[in-house]
């Protein structure tokens, strides 16, 4: 934790577009330490295992497989590495597949360099990162009634507080803004967001899969 605050987090960039990697490298500047780059699944796995970065901003679509494939293949080989899904125009099911493969969050490629640096720092510190769309997705996916007896109740619905937090993030609020709006600490906001992330990863709600397949999430 102290490391993440005092030192810039170490990063491996995974994206099949060199132009995008170069752009991110320039925008992030010295806010992160870039240990390496990779452009497909196999090279990503190799670089991540060799350098053990704190955070991997991971393109959802890659040649030779997809983002979730990288996460699965790295597996226990890099226990301290956390993944942040990064996508430009992907269907919801791909993004959700990456989240469910244990990525710690999801942001669009259109976010600014400063926002991406923030997101990387948050993920490095163990927090979840939600884009407005992902928050909207969570609200939509967990809306409506759960059929009685359908799996784990606690995992299958959002608490009212989690809903409030998701609503603000869906409106484009930062964690700090959400905290002051709800009179909560930033740490509490982060706890709620992490809890929603966990539910997205673990819930067996049928609607989650169905929702993802017939909506786009970008």
């Amino acid at each position: 934790m102290m490391n993440a605050v005092t030192n810039p987090p170490s990063v491996v960039l995974v994206d099949d577009h060199r132009m995008f990697r170069t752009g991110v490298r320039t925008e992030l500047g010295d806010q992160v330490r870039i240990l390496g780059e990779a452009e497909d699944v196999d090279s990503a796995v190799a670089v991540i295992l060799a350098t053990q970065p704190e955070v991997v901003p991971l393109d959802v679509h890659l040649p030779g497989g997809n983002g979730p494939e990288v996460i699965r293949k790295v597996g226990e080989g890099a226990p301290d590495t956390r993944f942040l899904a990064l996508s430009v125009s992907d269907a919801a099911e791909d993004v959700i597949a990456t989240i469910r493969a244990e990525a710690r969050g999801y942001v669009t490629k259109s976010i600014s360099g400063a926002e991406l640096a923030d997101a990387v720092r948050q993920v490095a510190a163990g927090d979840a990162v939600f884009s407005p769309r992902l928050a909207g997705f969570a609200l939509d996916a967990f809306a409506g009634s759960v059929e009685v007896g359908e799996i784990d109740e606690e995992l299958d619905r959002l608490t009212p507080r989690e809903r409030d937090v998701m609503r603000l993030i869906a409106r484009g609020y930062t964690y700090r803004e959400a905290a002051s709006e709800l009179f909560l600490s930033i740490k509490t906001i982060e706890t709620h967001v992490s809890s929603v992330l966990r539910k997205l990863q673990l819930s067996n709600r049928n609607e989650l899969a169905r929702w993802a397949s017939d909506r786009r999430l970008t």
Binding site: S89, S110, G136, D140, A170, R171, G172, R216, T218
Partner: protein, 385 residues
């Protein structure tokens, strides 16, 4: 051992191969159905080339068709065999007479249906193919031949004892059924190959469509961008419009009815993007049917988003809409210049009339929160009943 079917199924189901082999043998004793099931599975289940390369023997695995299909195949094959046996015994033919035929049919089927693939495989793998693999292939072929011989000989021997009048007829029936059984997997395979061809054709048509789309829109936009390279705002506007267009094409939204509030809201956002060269990020939860009050709300939203695009001085405007069965809430936000509500002259229609007035006339609630330098938030709420 014979065709790798048992191993394939065992791998698919995750059990030891001997269990599957045992099941086949057991089924084999029940009127020979195990043998026929094996033959049919062999013909239908595609060869897994990975397993082949690793092990050097032909291992068939049940692919994406899934376990249910393979189960269905086994059940179907068993059914056909039992049916054939019943028919045969009704016609006065003993089971002992049919069993050898079944074995012979199995052997023939194996050779005819798999020989071509085995040869192709040998050609494909070339030098890298290891000797044990080749030996296994020879062994398999020999096994098949033995099967045929055993079947034919025992049928011939058994045939001497059958002298009833109906025998001939029954034998014909059995042979016809046998031919049908042997031929049907072959026909199925032909059909599968045709299916593959059709898919290839569809793929090439899709490629032509992609080329057309890329040419008509993407290349046009890129040309426009180069021509407007000196005007960043215009470049951003063209790029964003193209992005929207391409997205709609790549990820078509589930066809929302024209009465969808969600669809109308996205339309409004696109219009504002085109007009002011900003990015409007829309997040929707739920949907609602566009009625008169909601149409007024949509117009108020358009006004709020346009104001943000025109006056805020920032590139991104966030729009969030939440629609429940009871009400629709729209939230428009920018982090731009903001303004002081008191400074808006009375004759300016924008905020007071177009936003607040419109909503309140239909019994909704509207609020505008802004301060110079603190961005602007507009919140609109409308009941839906």
């Amino acid at each position: 051992m014979v065709g790798g079917v048992a191993r394939g199924i065992a791998e698919h189901l995750g059990v030891d191969v001997w269990w599957v082999r045992g099941a086949f043998v057991l089924l084999g004793f029940i009127g020979g159905s195990g043998f026929l099931a094996y033959a049919i599975l062999w013909a239908l289940v595609p060869i897994d080339t990975h397993a082949q390369q690793e092990k050097g023997s032909i291992a068939a695995t049940v692919d994406g068709r899934g376990a249910e299909t393979s189960l269905l195949l086994v059940l179907g094959a068993t059914g056909v065999v039992v049916g054939a046996l019943l028919l045969a015994s009704m016609a006065g033919l003993s089971v002992r007479g049919v069993l050898p035929l079944g074995i012979a049919g199995l052997g023939a089927a194996l050779i005819w249906l798999r020989a071509d693939e085995g040869q192709r495989d040998r050609l494909r793998s070339g030098v890298s193919r290891v000797t044990p693999g080749r030996r296994a292939g020879v062994l398999q072929f020999a096994l098949r031949v033995v099967l045929i011989l055993v079947g034919l000989i025992s049928f011939g021997v058994g045939g001497v004892g059958l002298e009833q009048a109906g025998t001939l007829l029954a034998a014909v029936v059995v042979v016809v059924v046998g031919i049908a059984l042997v031929a049907s997997p072959f026909a199925l395979r032909l059909w599968r190959e045709r299916d593959a061809e059709r898919r290839a054709r569809i793929r090439s048509e899709e490629r032509a469509e992609v080329a057309a789309q890329v040419h008509d829109s993407v290349l046009q936009s890129l040309t426009l961008i180069q021509r407007n390279a000196a005007d960043p705002a215009e470049v951003a506007r063209i790029a964003r419009a193209q992005e929207r267009d391409l997205r709609r094409w790549l990820y078509p939204a589930p066809s929302l009815p024209s009465s969808s509030f969600r669809a109308a809201l996205e339309e409004v956002a696109a219009e504002v993007e085109d007009t002011y060269g900003v990015r409007v990020e829309v997040v929707c939860v739920g949907d609602a049917v566009l009625n008169e009050p909601l149409t007024a709300m949509l117009q108020a939203t358009r006004e709020a988003v346009s104001n943000a695009g025109r006056h805020s001085g920032v590139y991104t405007v966030s729009v969030y809409a939440e629609m429940t069965s009871a009400e629709v809430m729209v939230h428009v936000r920018d982090r731009g210049a903001g303004f002081s509500l008191d400074d808006v002259p009375d004759d300016r229609m924008g905020v007071r009339e177009s936003i607040l007035g419109r909503i309140e006339r239909y019994g909704g609630r509207a609020s505008v929160t802004t301060e110079p330098g603190a961005g602007t938030r507009v919140e609109l709420v409308m009941g839906t009943r």
